[in-house]
């Protein structure tokens, strides 16, 4: 690294920042000083970049869907392969790009600043958080609100606890929760999910509500197939179950995310969804719940966050199951909120340490019992 950033150099106060860019370009030449003399090639940068790659299909599709939904709403649908693929995508990309710029700019400034204050290396955790945030908010979220929410989530959700690895709640979801409770008008209802410019002509019968808000009823021709593909209104990245599944395959293949959490979350959702369907609380069959709203996105990318999820293997089963079950419970039995995934995950984040405490306490007393017998 350049000398001026070293101790005693003119720009030493910027060394965390310089270091971050430096280690981004090349693996540092640091050698082991204590303990094992050789180390595995894996590092957190690699794990996080793979998690990020897993989200890319959902992100690209989400951008396309922004364009597509806009076209449907205004009746300006185009024909031709390139128009459909690139035209819609480009339209959506231009709408989503500002969200990315704001989320990354605000988050990274705080992240670099706190690393600088602590004199530590900059953590790569926000690369992932910043990539997720624009995907879980409505496309028309005002940028100043987003900036405020990102700042809140990064400072009070993460940095005050000691930075990445120490946080209790998933910072991306905390951003969304901040928006949800502070600015409910911009975060729910039927006018937020589809980008429409002021003064644009809308087609007859347009509602703009998500299928969940309509309790599964169709607005244009919402079929199960379009719910699976993702051509429905919703937060930017959450709609396409197919693209999320592609990401899930990568995450499970590489072992970055826990299959136990994903599986138990699906099981929890199916069971509560089934009960709700049988008792007449909803007309939506339990399996369709998996395709709607943020369930798939939350289960695959949010619930599996290794920092905020349960740490123990047994705890992961409980944690995942509770998320799935709570999500559908909120959907079915809370008239105020159409979707419950965000609340379910944040609540289970809160309880994850307790779940782990119970699991490890049981383990300890089992060990002690074994000792008494022997």
């Amino acid at each position: 690294m350049n000398k001026i950033f070293e101790k005693g150099g003119k720009l030493h106060w910027l060394h965390s920042t310089a270091d971050a860019f430096d280690t981004f370009l090349a693996v540092p030449g640091t050698v082991t000083s204590k303990g094992a003399h050789v180390r595995d090639a894996i590092d957190l940068k690699r794990i996080i970049i793979l998690a990020l790659i897993a989200v890319i299909p959902a992100a690209l599709f989400g951008m396309w869907n922004v364009g597509y939904q806009h076209a449907l709403a205004t009746g300006t649908t185009v024909t031709g392969f390139w128009g459909i693929v690139l035209g819609y995508w480009w339209y959506g990309f231009l709408r989503v790009l500002p969200l990315y710029v704001v989320a990354y700019a605000v988050g990274l400034i705080i992240e670099f600043g706190t690393a600088q204050i602590r004199g530590e290396e900059v953590n790569e955790g926000f690369l992932m958080t910043g990539f997720l945030i624009p995907l879980i908010v409505p496309v028309d979220t005002p940028l100043w609100m987003l900036a405020l929410a990102v700042a809140f989530a990064t400072i009070f959700g993460k940095e005050v606890f000691g930075g990445t690895g120490m946080n209790i709640w998933n910072p991306a979801l905390l951003t969304r929760a901040f928006l949800f409770f502070s600015y409910p008008n911009s975060m729910s209802g039927s006018s937020t999910w589809i980008h429409v410019k002021p003064g644009e002509q809308l087609v007859d019968g347009f509602t703009g509500a998500t299928p969940l808000a309509l309790d599964g009823a169709a607005q244009y021709s919402t079929s199960v197939w379009s719910e699976f593909l993702g051509t429905i209104p919703g937060s930017v990245g959450e709609t396409s179950t197919l693209c999320i599944l592609l990401g899930a395959i990568l995450l499970l293949w590489t072992g970055v995310a826990s299959w136990k959490i994903m599986l138990s979350s699906v099981a929890g959702a199916l069971i509560v969804g089934f009960i709700g369907n049988v008792t007449g609380a909803t007309a939506i069959p339990c399996w369709e719940q998996l395709l709607l709203g943020g369930f798939a996105f939350g289960t695959v990318f949010m619930a599996t966050d290794p920092v905020t999820s349960a740490q123990t293997e047994c705890g992961k089963w409980i944690y995942g199951f509770l998320i799935g079950a709570l999500c559908i419970t909120v959907r079915l039995f809370n008239p105020g909120y159409a979707e419950g995934m965000m609340l379910a995950i944040l609540l289970c984040n809160t309880f994850a340490p307790l779940i782990d405490h119970c699991v490890t306490s049981a383990h300890i007393s089992r060990r002690n019992k074994k000792a008494n017998v022997a």
Binding site: G35, A36, H37, D40, A41, D43, R46, N368, K370
Partner: protein, 453 residues
């Protein structure tokens, strides 16, 4: 005879440089060093001064807390120098070896007719007591305590570890004698664990006075701590002793010949070792006498007395450790790898993580270096990530965090009594956050020692 205990968790690190099963050289060093840091728990008191004559087996150091515990000279010769560091801390005693080796005579003895007290006395005065290591804490055993049992690992699974059948196969009779002697020091008997795979050919499989156990699995299946946790886990207020197979042979030799003879076959291994093979050497032999193995590459080599996971970095001017039967030479990984972490393949690097592709080539050996491969971070991945390489009934990261917090109660609950840093060495190896887990555990153990004293 118990059934084979198969351990599914663990990892064999595929590093290049396994030693050929041949003795390439017998080293009779001019100078031998006794390094007090090799002996965990020893508060050294110097018993010799510069210019004193010593024989092989003459005491050089004693323990301030228990003056009966002696450290003996491996050679006969003259004390050349007492090396001291800051605050006059004793760093090493250097002994100039005679051409003609003289041994202090402790007399040929038959352990079968000796009492426990006599055996203790013989081991103490001959300087062989430090081969007995106490658990918990991994310090030199306290002679006043009667241990629950004594455990011996009959094989090593550490990276490039020496093959005991080659190094000690011819000394089975001495080992038997050592077993006979130690069996008298405990009610719980001597437990010898062997590798289940080679069991039927093992020269150590027929031992009297010992309970045999069979283990199968990847590293750390050969660690005595892992074996104990599957045979009879250590609980609060319990003490067990461990001794290495080499230690048993040394004790057996003393009883059979009356001589303190700690000569051993040392495996010189590692990716930087030219034609890795075994040498016949003494503890405290200078690394420089292994010059034939590294030639002109000393500047870019790290010299490790021990294996790549738990050994100590002694440098070219250092010495082979007292208990070591392996020296590993690896490249210092100071080179910077451009875009290392984002490269899709990174073919030359090994990783257990599926984020890379080395799991596709299971048979391949890698030219590993000492690069950290990343920057230090807070613990981010789950406990289970580490538990994959620890075949014990323990949550490793909970234990590590208890040690970091200095919470004695939690450390106890999460199993500090059962582990030594070496048992969690693989957790340290796989850690994507690059924490020094062995150091954290060692500090936790030091805290326990201080609080329990």
């Amino acid at each position: 005879m118990s059934d084979t205990i198969v351990l599914k968790k663990g990892l064999n690190i595929p590093v290049k440089g396994e030693a050929d099963l041949r003795i390439s050289k017998a080293i009779s060093p001019d100078i031998v060093a006794i390094n007090p840091a090799d002996f965990k728990g020893l508060l050294p008191r110097l018993l010799v001064k510069e210019g004193d004559k010593v024989l092989a087996g003459s005491p050089v150091l004693s323990d301030k807390k228990n003056p009966d515990i002696l450290i003996a000279s491996p050679v006969s010769g003259t004390v050349k120098e007492v090396v001291r560091g800051e605050k006059r801390k004793l760093l090493a005693v250097l002994i100039q070896a005679d051409d003609d080796q003289q041994y202090l005579d402790f007399g040929v003895q038959n352990p079968d007719t000796m009492s426990a007290e006599q055996i203790k006395e013989t081991l103490l005065k001959s300087g062989l007591w430090p081969w007995l290591v106490q658990r918990p804490y991994g310090i030199i055993a306290n002679p006043d305590v009667t241990p629950k049992a004594i455990f011996v690992s009959g094989f090593s699974t550490a990276p490039l570890a020496p093959d005991y059948e080659f190094t000690l196969g011819g000394e089975a009779a001495f080992i038997q004698k050592g077993v006979n002697a130690l069996a008298k020091l405990t009610e719980g008997g001597v437990h010898l664990s062997l590798c289940g795979k080679n069991f039927s050919n093992s020269p150590f499989r027929r031992m009297d006075n010992a309970t045999m156990h069979k283990f199968e699995g990847r590293h750390p299946a050969g660690n005595v701590g892992v074996q104990i946790s599957h045979i009879s886990p250590i609980r609060k207020d319990e003490t067990v002793w461990t001794v290495s197979l080499l230690g048993l042979a040394v004790i057996g030799k003393l009883l059979s010949t009356g001589r303190y003879n700690v000569r051993r076959k040392v495996a010189v291994t590692g990716p930087m070792a030219l034609e890795p093979a075994y040498v016949d050497a003494l503890p405290g032999t200078p690394i420089k006498s292994l010059a034939a193995f590294y030639g002109s590459l000393a500047d870019e080599t790290r010299f490790i007395s021990g294996d790549i996971l738990t050994g100590s970095n002694v440098g070219e001017n250092g010495y082979i450790g007292y208990y070591a039967d392996q020296v590993t030479l690896v490249r210092e990984g100071t080179e910077r790898e451009l875009f290392g972490w984002i490269r899709p393949l990174r073919y030359k690097q090994f990783s257990t993580d599926r984020c890379y592709f080395s799991w596709l080539t299971p048979g391949r050996k890698y030219d590993m270096d000492t690069n950290l491969h990343g920057g230090p971070r807070a613990f981010l991945v789950n406990d289970a990530y580490y538990a994959k390489v620890l075949p014990m009934d323990i949550y490793p990261i909970y234990l590590v965090k208890a040690c970091l917090a200095g919470d004695i109660d939690k450390m106890e609950k999460f199993g500090i009594y059962e582990v030594l840093p070496e048992d969690l060495a693989l957790c340290e190896y796989v850690d994507p956050s690059k924490n020094n887990i062995q150091d954290i555990i060692a500090k936790g153990i030091d805290l326990m020692l201080k609080e329990m004293a």
